[in-house]
Amino acid sequence: MFVGFLYELRRRKVPVGTQEAVALAQALEAGLHDSSLDGFYEVARALLVHNEAHLDAFDQAFLAHFKGLEDAANALVAELLGWLEQAAAREPTERTPEEEAALAALEPEALRALYTQRMRDQERSRREANGSADAEARARQGTGSLGVAGDAAEGAGGRRGAMKVADARLYRGYRDDRVLDTRSLGVALRKLRAFQREGAFDELDLEGTIDATARNAGELEVILRPPRKPSTRVLLLMDVGGSMRPHAHLVNRLFSAARKATHFRELRTYYFHNCVYGSVYRTEGFGEPVSLAELLSDCGPAWKLVLVGDALMAPYELLLRAGSQGHYRPDGVEGIVWMMQLATHFERSAWLNPEPAASWWSPTIRTLRSVFSMFPLTVEGLGDAVGHLTRGGVRKGPVLAR
């Protein structure tokens, strides 16, 4: 019955699979949803969603799939009640066997109580939805709806109808395909770390100690080793000016997140415009140039290269010849060749593009994508880029212990 809903979720990129379906079936079998749509909403949400980033998509899927169902279900219950009451009103001898069985199994009284409570809950949530301005005014006065005389159904604790909750889209802020804030960037960057043993010998090497002690015929011999320290070095090259202006805010956030990340051994940031020609710059205003040769000799192949730029420019700019000072020279090297030099020098590199991936058909983007692996500058994209940067080719530092 809910399988269609699962596919609706998958269409909205909520990763649900067999495991979730089985869990949900178990929960429904155990009656956790109290045979109500609201209950189903809560149970399904707890079991199908594993990340607050998916809550919004879940709400939308729920709305799309179950809209209109609530009223239909109520009509059904009302019909059943009417039938039962008619049967109850008649003499026992005139009842049909089915009616007799139904009356024995279901108590019309209890059923009616449940039904009225459901209806009241729903009515209230509808009222709240309609009179939200009114409710807000009350809330501002500070009484909230607590001041309103509580009826018996209120015992559920300010329960709001699933449809209303889903419709309110409270979790829109947690979607992860949204563009990022500094914190989520920081979280994504955390994955980019590796450790290496280095420095003073002040950590007990247990295995080594046991080994040495055994060799020493049981005389305790303590072996120390240097502690683990972060070993990731990151080189960040950012495209500034021109078509990057609209993305300046976003790039600044990435920059501040990278600066705040404490798990990098070293982080260097340089700027370029459109394409790297022979030099990159220490300041945003293209001051203090550093020649590429200098940069490459400073930063070994183990550094992680991250380029940030929209890769949008006039096609000729990729072919512009420039010398090592970054100025135009007819006998210089084309921009794209400088870029390829960067790409081949570093073992791992990634390009983050603030332009939405749907617009990556432009020729310069396509060309640069053939040189660098390109990722969109969103939480997801940054996560993928970091995954790409850490996968394989990671050099392990020499272990100095023993």
Partner: protein
Amino acid sequence: MTDGFRRFAGTDRYLTSPALQAAVNCALALERPLLVKGEPGTGKTLLAEAIANALGARLLTWTVKSTTRAQDGLYVYDTVQRLYDSRFGDGDVRDIRRYIRFGPLGEAFRSSERVVLLIDEVDKADLEFPNDLLHELDRMRFRILETDEEVEARARPVVVVTSNNEKELPDAFLRRCVFHFIDFPDRELMARIVRVHHPRLDESLTRQALDIFYQLRELTRLRKRPSTSELVDWLAVLKSAGVKELELDEALPFVGALLKREQDLLVFHESLAAGRRPRA
């Protein structure tokens, strides 16, 4: 309705929303770990205590730190002590069992009745940490390699895992958990929470405090917005100091209980000095 287990509906000290109750009940019924996320100070850790209280079970807490390894939760083989004993001849060093120290997870498995195990701030540890626990949490058993003994949970513990979202958790781990994201309580729920903690607090003072609290939360430039625990603390201070009237101005009493960062206090003073109510 006949339930195979007792339903969780919060306790008189811990109020819950229907969504949270559903999540807890799912975790109890399906015997899966419950993963709780949410803003700091929304009662993630207290939830485990509340569940333990409601079930009448013992609570074991495993506070995860950046150096914690999955193995630490199961058991630690105290080799150094054994070496020491063998060198200086205390006790029987042939019995390895004497040198196995069980961690919180190991304790939870070994306990004869059902316990509630809280794995607090799982995101503090290394990225691989949750993955290392997958098998143990799934099967509820592990093997002590040194003695070749199998420890199997006699009663599957109720596992509550909290995360502050500092790191993404691995998918394989997430799939095995029941997930709940604790929303920040709305005004109505907050008023009830306050009443639970301070039952005899003056009605009008509560109202004023809540007004100010939510206005403060709306200050967009705050680095750390005050949360439930701060509000409860603040009210406790107000009560013991005998404050009767509250107004949002620069001389707000004990504002330090709500705003903990120096920059946030500066923001607070600036936005009030600028003569506008912190609405934006």
